[in-house]
Subunit: 145 residues, 3 copies
């Protein structure tokens, strides 16, 4: 990659994460699934969640966990570095603001979390995909249901 | 446009939206007006607001609505695509935090909104301008006056 | 600088500020110090803070002020312009959310601030550094201890 191609790849990667947030918050589950490699892995253990293997399982759990929930995910200030021409790693600051409707099965009424995403991206057939990502928390404020 | 020129145009468009937020929040109404084409259109119907035609009318309504109000607008994670060399469309995640002072004519004391901006940009005489934009809301928290 | 080199420099500057937030919030004080020139100057007078000269003094004061505090700093929508090939100025929207633990010496339990950073960057031996920055506030919400 020359310099312009590298910068263009960075822009494409940033848009993948932008779509991740938008598709989660607008509950576009099929579109969300397409952002990942089939065998992707999510590590939520640093954020009070568990580990999830595979995009089918992640999207199924996200859809179930956000049933009856209005979610807002914002990510900030990416630091993205290429580790190979088709491989990159990134850190994003994040905050999420979740609120479940009354009568939902969630033990929480609301959650406001702040922390970081650490992610690995791979380029497959010209399209950047998330292959692994983890969330860590600086702070989580919750209101029980 | 070659690749570097495209990336430079993206940066210029991102700065237009950054200025939009900054000029609204610092109440620089003349500078704000210059970010739009004269015949721009704002669609706030997805966010509980109305439709506004023309930059003069938009800036007049923004100035009136934010009288006695400290506003904070933050936008995140743009997904911007060119539809022609001098035309682009973008989606931004957003949050705004508004607080009106006591004694203001607003029916609200505060508003915290979260959602998306969808925008169209046009390049006129080398400068990118906002020609149309709309806001949709995921969630709005208000405190009445 | 050609156009691609200019855009690459912008990306490097954005990452300096991203690291600033991340290193403050994860209390990596030695790494934080390396983001500044030795003689940098911080002007917090527009945000209820004071002026600080030198990176050693800034990092010492930051570490002391954030003892017993979980801090979250998010910055948004940079407007960065080059004033010389190795010199740039930027404005960022910002919010910070600080919460001190019970028993800390802070007079505050929490602070939520919103405003702008105005910064100057210089390239030294190929690496961009913060040489001066200031914070101004649109709004600050505090809860006393």
């Amino acid at each position: 990659m020359d310099l312009a191609e590298k910068l263009d790849a960075l822009e494409e990667i940033r848009k993948v994460k932008a779509r991740y947030c938008r598709f989660v918050d607008t509950k576009q589950w099929d579109a969300l699934k397409n952002l990942f490699t089939p065998d992707c892995r999510f590590d939520g253990s640093g954020g009070g969640m568990g580990e999830i293997a595979g995009r089918d399982q992640f999207v199924a759990e996200a859809a179930a966990g956000l049933a009856g929930c209005v979610s807002v995910h914002h990510v900030h200030n990416p630091e993205i570095e290429f580790t190979a021409p088709d491989l990159a790693e990134g850190v994003w600051a994040m905050q999420d603001m979740l609120r479940w409707e009354e009568g939902s099965s969630s033990p929480l009424r609301s959650l406001h979390g702040m922390g970081h995403y650490r992610e690995t991206y791979v380029r497959v057939d010209g399209a950047w995909k998330i292959v692994a990502w983890a969330v860590t928390r600086l702070r989580v404020d919750v209101v029980p249901a």
